[in-house]
């Protein structure tokens, strides 16, 4: 068990060393990078906005109904909501959602290339298959994530405004005051920093699971599931580490 774990970590690191090589053909790399930016980043935008909107609204409702008591000032609702969104939701939780959406997609796409010998075909031609396949995906994820996080924060706040306005249980002025109260820019930046690490984890770990598939369609499916589980756990683990490091 431990030996298998160490073996996997070792092969992961070796794969990453092959991945971070200079692209053999810049023109093709650029094309692929833009393509992945679109298919991994842009195609995740909708789900990120939708989920953040509802979470922002829900946080507001829950805090007001179940956490807040009449002796607390009203702005604490907006304040607590903002901190949850900035510190955890927009970075860690969104990345776990993306691990499910993007990670399984990457793992099964690359796994299929493996079992249909497309990766062998690249290797025989003399193409560095690890770099050719993984590098555009990793870079696209890492560059897309700050934007996704930004959209997540914005849409979470919009969700809060909409629910306060429609539900009428908190004035928009109180919410705005709470959202601005005692704002620490570092909380925002640390969320961005964490999300960069998580994006790298999602793309590289699911890429590893796909690249190392052996067998057929059953193993490809399993690689998809495993990549989601492992990258989600890793995201939480590094969340704990980074939070201690960045906040401590």
């Amino acid at each position: 068990m431990l030996r298998r774990l160490l073996h996997s970590i070792g092969s992961y690191l070796l794969l990453m060393r092959r991945t971070f090589a200079r692209p053999q053909q810049m023109r093709i790399f650029r094309q692929q990078y833009l393509h992945e930016l679109y298919s991994l980043g842009y195609n995740s935008l909708f789900i990120v906005i939708l989920m953040s909107f509802f979470i922002g609204a829900l946080l507001c409702v829950q805090i007001k109904l179940n956490v807040w008591s009449p002796w607390m000032p009203r702005f604490t609702i907006g304040y607590a909501m903002r901190e949850v969104i900035l510190l955890e939701f927009a970075s860690s939780i969104i990345c776990i959602i993306l691990a499910g959406k993007v990670g399984s997609n990457i793992a099964s796409e690359i796994g299929t290339m493996r079992v249909t010998q497309q990766i062998d075909a690249l290797d025989v031609m003399g193409v560095n298959s690890a770099s050719y396949i993984l590098l555009p995906k990793i870079l696209a994820m890492v560059t897309a994530i700050p934007l996704l996080v930004t959209f997540s924060i914005a849409s979470g706040f919009i969700g809060a405004y909409v629910v306060c306005w429609a539900g009428g249980f908190l004035s928009l002025a109180d919410l705005t005051y709470g959202l601005q109260h005692d704002y620490v820019p570092w909380h925002l930046w640390s969320g961005y920093i964490k999300s960069l690490v998580f994006a790298f984890i999602i793309a590289s770990v699911s890429g590893f699971f796909g690249y190392t598939v052996r067998g057929g369609s059953i193993e490809v499916g399993r690689a998809g599931t495993n990549s989601v589980v492992v990258s989600s756990v890793l995201i939480l683990f590094f969340d704990l580490m980074l939070t201690n490091l960045l906040m401590g």
Binding site: Q24, R27, T116, Q118, V124, M125, V127
Partner: protein, 241 residues
């Protein structure tokens, strides 16, 4: 010419290849024949460098593929074309893009020249009209032909085919066999074909290596195949009648 010297390969506790030595000549269709599971694919993967043998050398006109520097290895690979058992076309690209891929990756020619070369290769395999189709829209035989076009795009000196007829009807099989054989002779390529299809052996085989349970048991020309005394080879040949 490709020479194998004393190739050995094992997986876990299973010896798959036992001391295989052979030579494959230039301008000829060299066949590796044997039953399923005899080790043909493993041997071919050792030859093209996708597997590293435990022992032995694979010499491409004197260059040992397993001991070249990274740079020389990449250069050698551009002289190699491979037709995989399942064609292995890139399913995110259409037919023309598949054939263009090795050119885009490695050729220093202009776009127009690369396009002309890709179209020439597609024409050579009789698929001019299919250039905008996706691989999933093609029949098995057409996929194999596209894969041949892709394999010859960079004008290889060495061509490898693993079970080129598997999953194809007899007519498509003969078309693929003819293409492989004609291309080999036209361009003087060293070609190695794995097969257990006796129709191919009779049709396009020139030099034959017979493998049984990982042992190279017989080698010789197609004409002397049926005069062999080797019991395993006789059994293999007779099963066809």
């Amino acid at each position: 010419m490709i020479s194998l010297i004393d190739i050995q390969k094992h997986f876990e506790d299973q010896e798959v290849l036992h001391h295989i030595s052979a030579t494959f000549e230039e301008g000829k269709t060299n066949l590796i024949i044997g039953r399923s599971g005899s080790g043909k694919t493993v041997l071919l993967r050792c030859i093209i460098g996708l597997l590293t043998p435990d022992n032995g050398q694979v010499l491409y006109d004197g260059r040992d593929i397993h001991r070249l520097s990274k740079h020389d290895g990449t250069l050698l690979r551009q002289e190699m074309g491979m037709l995989f058992q399942g064609a292995a076309l890139f399913d995110s690209m259409n037919v023309l893009e598949n054939v263009m891929f090795p050119l885009d990756m490695f050729s220093s020619k202009t776009h127009r020249e690369r396009l002309a070369r890709a179209r020439f290769c597609l024409d050579r395999v009789g698929l001019t009209d299919a250039e905008n189709k996706m691989p999933s829209e093609l029949s098995g035989g057409m996929q194999k032909r596209v894969a041949i076009a892709r394999a010859i795009a960079l004008e290889p000196r060495y061509l490898f085919c693993d079970e080129p007829n598997s999953g194809l009807d007899p007519i498509s099989s003969r078309i693929i066999d003819r293409l492989i054989s004609d291309i080999t002779h036209e361009y003087g390529i060293t070609t190695i074909v794995n097969t257990h299809d006796m129709a191919s052996v009779r049709g396009i085989g020139e030099q034959v290596l017979f493998i049984h349970d990982g042992y190279a048991e017989w080698t010789g020309s197609n004409a002397t195949l049926y005069t062999s005394e080797n019991p395993h080879l006789r059994e293999f040949l007779e099963s066809d009648q």
